[in-house]
């Protein structure tokens, strides 16, 4: 087969083989099917698989069943909901205090519609950058209001989110380790200088629905000086001609154009990091001469292919999840040295273990115990106070997806809090209610509890132990409680709270 007819997934695997060989590493084995369905369902829909889906997958005898599952997941409405949630978190940061639920809902709705239609990603970003109109009505303008339409905030966020370039240090001085100069920062900020409304001081200016529009005037200046800085693209000395188009239009065209490898590389790296837990460049939003990709060729081959496929995110997700690399086990070896273990993780020779985000944990708890999943089902940013309180308490920080960040307060809440209490009591758990049905054997009941939470049946010895525990119970009421205790143990287990 000619080189350009090989599918991207195979090119990636071939390249990684070379990387592993150079490093003298042996990749671990493939995941089991039950591990795979849990991982890929979480990564592509944000939810753990339902029991019925696990059975269906097991019963599919096709040799292509993993690929078929991926296609199925990518076609679900829930996939668009999940991508919208992810991109909302990338684009709006977590600090939503000055935004209201309706605005965020509108923003998510806009994202969902774009992901549902699989709009080319460069077009999506162009729409976002060129957003106009009332902050109250349309979706993408919220990106601007969340950053208070401040040129310096917009510059920081835009370069970091879409180009993977952190200009932050250069705002106040030349970058200490990189080639970025202070003028580079401000010449990027200059693209956002001709916007209305102009930034105020009170953070409240977005209330009441002002319009986001371009202005013919507006400049940025170096801090504490009167030196005006004109808009320039990265690495280009001459200012951009903005006689014939607005500054934003010039920026959007350059950023999302096919010659701009920064954009494609940052995008595929972010998607990679979402799936693999670690970026090819890591942290995924910090491309820098100090922080080179683990393999330049790997990154470039994916980025080039992404451009050739018109920035098709669904295609990219399908190819990445179809790689052998994505489907490797996360099993650790206790005999390996720390150094080798780190190398294995860094070169994707072993899959990473990702503790759940706060959203995944809440939705997982609700789903595993068959309680209504308010936001997950509707897909919207919701104002359910119980969910909001939970998210605030468990919210992760930063780009690191590998670290377990919770502490004692969170563990206490998961063990003894109201949400868990309700979930493991017969009155509050549709799962436990369903298991009351007389046609279930105790073994089946235990099996279902495991499948609903950790997506696989118990180990044989554990099944025996749990079965004996049920048999010890003197009456149906205490057996009911015992099933609740098993569910409690499952919901509090490390396995439940991790995507591995």
């Amino acid at each position: 087969m000619a080189q350009d007819e090989t599918r991207l997934a195979d090119k990636i695997d071939a390249r990684l083989e070379v990387v592993w060989q150079e490093q003298g590493l042996d990749p671990v084995v493939l995941t089991s099917d039950t591990e795979f369905i849990r991982r890929v369902t979480l990564d592509l829909t944000g939810l753990i698989p339902r029991v019925g889906e696990i059975y269906e997958f097991e019963e599919n005898s096709s040799s292509e069943r993993r690929a078929e599952l991926i296609d199925d997941l990518l076609s679900r409405p829930r996939h668009a909901v999940h991508l919208a949630n992810l991109w909302r978190s990338y684009l709006l940061s977590d600090n939503l205090e000055n935004l209201n639920a309706v605005q965020i809902g509108g923003f998510e709705e806009w994202l969902r519609s774009r992901f549902r239609d699989n709009v080319p990603y460069n077009r999506l970003v162009r729409e976002l950058l060129l957003a106009e109109g009332s902050f109250d009505q349309v979706g993408p303008a919220l990106y601007y209001s969340s950053l208070e339409v401040k040129p310096e905030e917009l510059a920081r966020s835009t370069s970091r989110t879409f180009l993977g370039v952190q200009l932050d240090c250069a705002q106040c001085h030349d970058h200490p380790f990189d080639s970025w100069k202070q003028t580079d920062f401000w010449s990027f900020a200059a693209f956002f200088a001709q916007l209305s409304p102009q930034p105020g001081n009170n953070g409240q200016m977005m209330q009441g629905g002002p319009q986001l529009t371009d202005l013919p005037t507006g400049e940025v200046f170096l801090p504490d000086s009167e030196q005006k800085v004109l808009p320039r693209y990265f690495g280009v000395e001459t200012p951009v001609d903005t006689e014939t188009q607005t500054r934003r239009a010039a920026l959007a065209e350059w950023m999302t154009g096919e010659e701009n490898m920064l954009f494609a590389r940052a995008t595929v790296n972010r998607v990679w990091a979402h799936l693999f837990g670690i970026g090819i460049v890591d942290p995924p939003d910090n491309f820098s001469s100090n922080n080179p990709p683990i393999d330049e060729e790997l990154l470039n081959l994916i980025a080039t292919d992404f451009i050739q496929h018109q920035y098709d995110l669904r295609y990219l997700l399908r190819e990445l999840t179809n790689t052998r690399a994505y489907q490797l086990s996360s099993r650790n070896s206790n005999e390996e040295s720390t150094e080798i273990a780190e190398k294995m993780a860094r070169t994707f020779a072993r899959h990473a273990i990702k503790p759940f985000t706060a959203d995944q944990l809440y939705d997982g708890l609700a789903q595993a115990t068959a309680q209504p999943i308010l936001s997950a089902a509707a897909g919207g940013f919701d104002i359910d106070p119980q969910r909001t309180t939970f998210i605030q308490k468990f919210r992760r920080t930063g780009e690191d997806q590998i670290e377990y960040q919770s502490g004692i307060p969170q563990a206490l809440t998961l063990m003894n809090g109201n949400l868990t209490n309700r979930a493991v009591a017969i009155e509050g758990s549709n799962l436990l209610k369903a298991l009351e049905a007389p046609f279930y054997t105790d073994a089946e009941r235990i099996n279902t509890l495991f499948l609903s939470t950790v997506s696989h049946p118990p180990e044989a010895e554990t099944a025996t132990m749990f079965l004996e525990y049920l048999k010890e119970q003197p009456d149906s009421q205490s057996k009911q409680a015992a099933l609740g205790h098993i569910l409690w143990a499952l919901l509090n287990s490390a396995e439940f709270t991790m995507n591995y």
């Binding site: 600090n95 605030q392 919770s406 206490l412 490390a494 396995e495 591995y500």
Partner: protein, 448 residues
């Protein structure tokens, strides 16, 4: 002096490591610093948070003879030349331990925004999720084998309303463990109970979600734990030992130890001598201060004690209310100082007294005082504080700072230094930018 400067310098370098992963050469310095630090005693912090915004004119910056001064008279303290309110007579006898700042000037006059500002040093609304200073300092002051969370909030609640205030970009592991008071004598703006009524029942304290839920027996919980252990070891056997698994296991073990072990007794104050309990004041605030001392003894480094309710928000009937509130404060705070001192903990425990803002010098038609951030007071006490002084001043009307104006950043930076943490210690923010623990000038005069 050389030592202090060297320490600060090294801490700055060490703090920078988070931001500069390439700087391997810094590591040996950081390690030598860690070794140096571990030999010095552990430092602690108690924030006495005056929910609602305490009146500076009726506590620490009285204006006798001016129409704004109101009903209260100043009294002498055990430090010549320093006077405070007549309703803080016990505290007046320990003024040698206090450094009173009368020149604090900030820019937020709303409860939620002021609460956020005074805890983070930042005005709300920025895309960066700033942590409360208590979370940042608890991170720096924690030990590697702490059995308890190193930051607890005891008693009342902050008035941060819809503004998220907590561990911010440090992550959920640095959130405070909330200890709630139930029952007991509570101040109330409508009806004023006697400050320290000895016949009142004491409040009891409950750690959020520490008690077994859903009517569970101890025995059932033990069974749950057995099942859970089984699942943990199955997962570990199958997946090997990962960093995430180890962290999960450790956090759960500690939480379970808290539920089962002797630490649960810390929250039951009934083994304290009756006389001491009475001395702290029988109300929620007094007993919370006593609990704070017990937590310091148990190894918790950072404790915030918010006055419960919107106590100090005295828009009406200011003088009766502040008199009552002062009574509670005057029982709890001086007792806390002597109690810590007798146990040898005062020199390692810094206390900061403040609220979200001060109150208007002019008295409104309801004999109340409204929100005022332009010129107000806060007080440092205890460990590494140069007590027995007043820093800064306001004019006769109390409307303007006339001397040594201090901003919130200066207060928080000074607090950092007092507990031995460089304010320039950096953490990576949610936007991938390293952020100093505090921004401002350390007020060297305050430090002892």
């Amino acid at each position: 002096m050389w030592n202090i400067n060297r320490r600060r310098c090294l801490q700055t370098l060490a703090g920078g490591i988070a931001g500069l992963s390439a700087s391997h050469w810094l590591q040996p310095i950081a390690q030598s610093l860690a070794a140096e630090e571990s030999t010095s005693p552990k430092r602690n912090l108690i924030v006495l948070w005056m929910t609602g915004g305490p009146s500076q004119l009726d506590t620490f910056d009285l204006k006798p003879g001016h129409e704004n001064g109101g009903e209260f008279q100043p009294i002498d303290t055990n430090v010549p030349g320093i006077q405070i309110s007549e309703h803080l007579p016990q505290l007046a006898q320990q003024a040698d331990k206090l450094a009173i700042i009368r020149s604090l000037s900030t820019k937020e006059g709303d409860h939620a925004r002021g609460t956020y500002l005074m805890h983070t040093g930042q005005r709300p609304g920025a895309p960066i999720q700033y942590p409360t200073i208590c979370a940042s300092l608890s991170k720096e002051l924690r030990g590697s084998d702490d059995t308890l969370p190193n930051f607890m909030s005891v008693g009342g609640n902050l008035l941060n309303f819809n503004i998220d205030l907590g561990p911010g970009f440090l992550g959920p592991g640095f959130a405070p463990l909330a200890v709630r008071a139930q029952g007991g004598n509570r101040p109330n703006n409508d009806e004023i109970p006697e400050a320290n009524n000895p016949t009142m029942a004491y409040p009891s304290f409950q750690v959020e979600d520490l008690a077994l839920g859903g009517g569970l027996t101890r025995e059932q919980h033990t069974k749950r734990t057995t099942l859970w252990n089984r699942l943990q070891s199955d997962f570990q056997n199958r997946q090997g030992t990962s960093a995430a698994f180890t962290a999960h296991q450790t956090v759960y073990q500690r939480a379970m130890n808290m539920m089962n072990g002797p630490t649960a007794k810390i929250f039951d104050l009934s083994d304290e001598p009756e006389e001491l309990r009475q001395a702290y004041g029988t109300g929620v605030f007094g007993q919370s201060c006593l609990l704070a001392r017990r937590l310091i003894e148990a190894g918790v480094s950072v404790i915030e004690v918010p006055f419960d309710g919107v106590s100090w928000d005295t828009h009406a009937d200011n003088f009766n209310q502040v008199k009552n509130l002062s009574g509670q404060l005057d029982a709890a705070w001086p007792t806390l100082l002597t109690d810590l001192e007798q146990r040898g903990l005062l020199e390692t425990t810094t206390i900061l007294w403040m609220g979200e803002f001060g109150r208007t010098p002019n008295i409104n038609e309801n004999t109340g005082r409204d929100h005022f951030a332009q010129a107000w007071s806060c007080v440092f006490a205890g460990g590494h504080v140069n007590g027995g002084q007043v820093y800064g001043a306001t004019n006769d009307s109390g409307m303007e700072v006339t001397d040594n104006k201090v901003d919130v950043g200066d207060v928080l930076s000074t607090l950092c230094e007092a507990v031995g943490v460089s304010p320039h210690t950096q953490n990576m923010s949610n936007l991938g930018r390293p952020i100093n623990v505090a921004e401002g000038a350390v007020i060297e005069e305050i430090l002892g």
